[in-house]
Amino acid sequence: MSSLAPLPVAIPLIAAAVLMGLGHWVPVRLARLFAVVVSLSVLVLCAVLVVGSRHSLVLHWFGGWRPEAGVALGVSFAIDQFGAAGATLAALIVLAAVVTWLGSDELDAVGLALVMTTLAAAVGFCLTGDIFNLFVFFELMSVSVFGLVAIDASHVGAIRGALQMAVSNSVGAFFVLMGIALLYARTGALNLAQMGNALTSRRSDQLVVTALVLIAVGFLVKAAVVPFHFWLADAAGTAPAPVAMLLVGMVDSLGLYAVARIYWTVFSGISAPHIHALRLVLLVVAGGTALLGAALAWEEARPRRRLAYVSISHTGLMLLGVALLDPNGLAGFGVYAVADGATKAALFAAAHGADHPKHPRPRAAALVLGVGALALAGLPPFATALGKGLIEHGASTSTRPVLLAVLWFSSTLTAAAVIGMALEWWNHPMEAAQSQSRGWGWAAVSGALLAVVAAWGVVPGVARAAVRAADGLTNRAAYAAAVLATPAAGTRPRQTPTPGLGVEPLLLGLAAVLVATGLAVERRRRVSHGHEPSAVMTQPWTILKSRSIGDAVTWLTVGTALLGAGVTLAFR
């Protein structure tokens, strides 16, 4: 199993090189087939790693540089079930995006090579046990996605989106690097486990707090959490839809995964005395993102941007799971990230089918939006309901009502926004003769993704497996002992009980679907009567919808300062 670990990174990297080298000589159909086969094989390998890591970490030390006496000089892949599941999600979304894209002319060998690099980087990002390695994979993923967003160079909007994304994400990446440098200065280590051990034996100080804030901000920029969300609205709103599938299905979840991974392996020991205050700070960020994103989605008129705001809102919901700093919440995040990532990717696949400048939209796309909205609302059997139930059970009894309200309100409003789009598209359908413009790959992909989300929700034992994986990730001492091959004294495996969810998710989901449909229908009626929808709300929101790079970086700076102040206070 250990020798298998580097393959899901190495295979797509080699494939990217082959595509770049031979792409001009082979027919583009062959190149596309090759990319599909490679993505599929990576998906299978990652799934094998999920199974292989269910009892213990899968460790791979590159070049055989194993740790000695608790000091790791080498670079490792340290794969637990959570990381392997993240890699599987990445491979699934990449496969879906490639298949969706097959019918379009703009996808050439260079584009495929960039997709393969993105896949390799995303998988490596999930599997690595070294913080600098994590940063490098993060940058590799970012740079390939920047290129993919702007792959159609004739579309100025997409280039602006790419520029906006590249500047925001690069500044975020520099913050991460500064945080890593500060942590290295304090601990003398780059291995996550060794850093965690070195920090746990100390008291917290301002340098550690600053490092925590810088690293968190860098990855929250990638996750497009408010107020770092400007780039996602612009990039997902203008990029080719399959690239937007990567952004909303994979990149944002991986940003949050990194926050969870680094918090639990490095900072959880040193921040244990301050966990309540820290939780509060993170929950405020998450709740604000969920609510503001939902409001922006409801208010936005352009379909692609509306879907981007839906995605931002749901990233906030995922962050709620991470922010609870609790195994149940984290398990909820894991289930929700897979379910929600696949749902959002299905929505953008439908947008791809509907996205033709001259042709009206196929009714099948409206249908996908409608079913996707049910998943967004959290209606069982869709696994989003399961994820939300787990997140909710991660909360203490005092925060649970507020958390429940935020979860329910944001998912209802985003579902209403998507149902509104579905009604619009259903009533302006496309004639059958024109419907071949985009092929039908998108329809197959969105159908398959939604089926996966539904199946993931009914397979028995998903909740228990997720809680067990979260127990593994949150057990810092056991992780460190396994990675550094030191005696695991006093590190009993955690056994968080899996909560029983009962009928509550079904009732909440039904209520959400009913209210969302009501809202969407009511708004449609008003629009057809000539009332401008929610004109009162328009003004204050424009500030959060800016497309200016300067505004985005201003908010990035202000957000960093505010989060820094919050976390510093939490550590007092």
Binding site: V143, G157, R160, V171, M178
Partner: protein, 114 residues
């Protein structure tokens, strides 16, 4: 080792961010991104610096001679590669923007429709 390099790193970060925020020209904006990145180079090298130490090349120095930390230098080198890639890509985007719109003003770009 004094505190000066850290102050310069913080200063580069702040003026770089200020430059990005207030920029009226996309090429200038890309250079400001590079300025922010320079602050990370300085921070990394300052962390690994030791007084009266030499370069960490062990071929021709006597045993026991103290050297600066080679790890941060390796990180810095990787950072330089990443920075060159990002800057080149950003400039390529800026070229495309100029080719399509004839303008380099970020605010004008922001006002254009999707």
């Amino acid at each position: 080792m004094n505190v000066l390099p850290y102050l310069v790193a913080a200063w580069l970060l702040i003026i770089g961010l200020w430059g990005i925020i207030t920029s009226r020209n996309l090429v200038h904006l890309v250079v400001c991104v590079s300025v922010v990145q320079s602050s990370t180079y300085l921070l990394l090298l300052a962390i690994g610096y030791r007084s009266h130490a030499t370069a960490p090349v062990f071929a021709d120095i006597p045993l026991g001679r103290s050297v600066v930390d080679p790890v941060v230098q390796a990180l810095c080198l990787t950072d330089v590669v990443v920075g060159a890639t990002v800057t080149a890509l950003l400039l390529a985007f800026v070229l495309q923007v100029h080719k399509r719109t004839g303008s380099l003003d970020p605010e004008q770009l922001a006002r254009m429709d999707d």
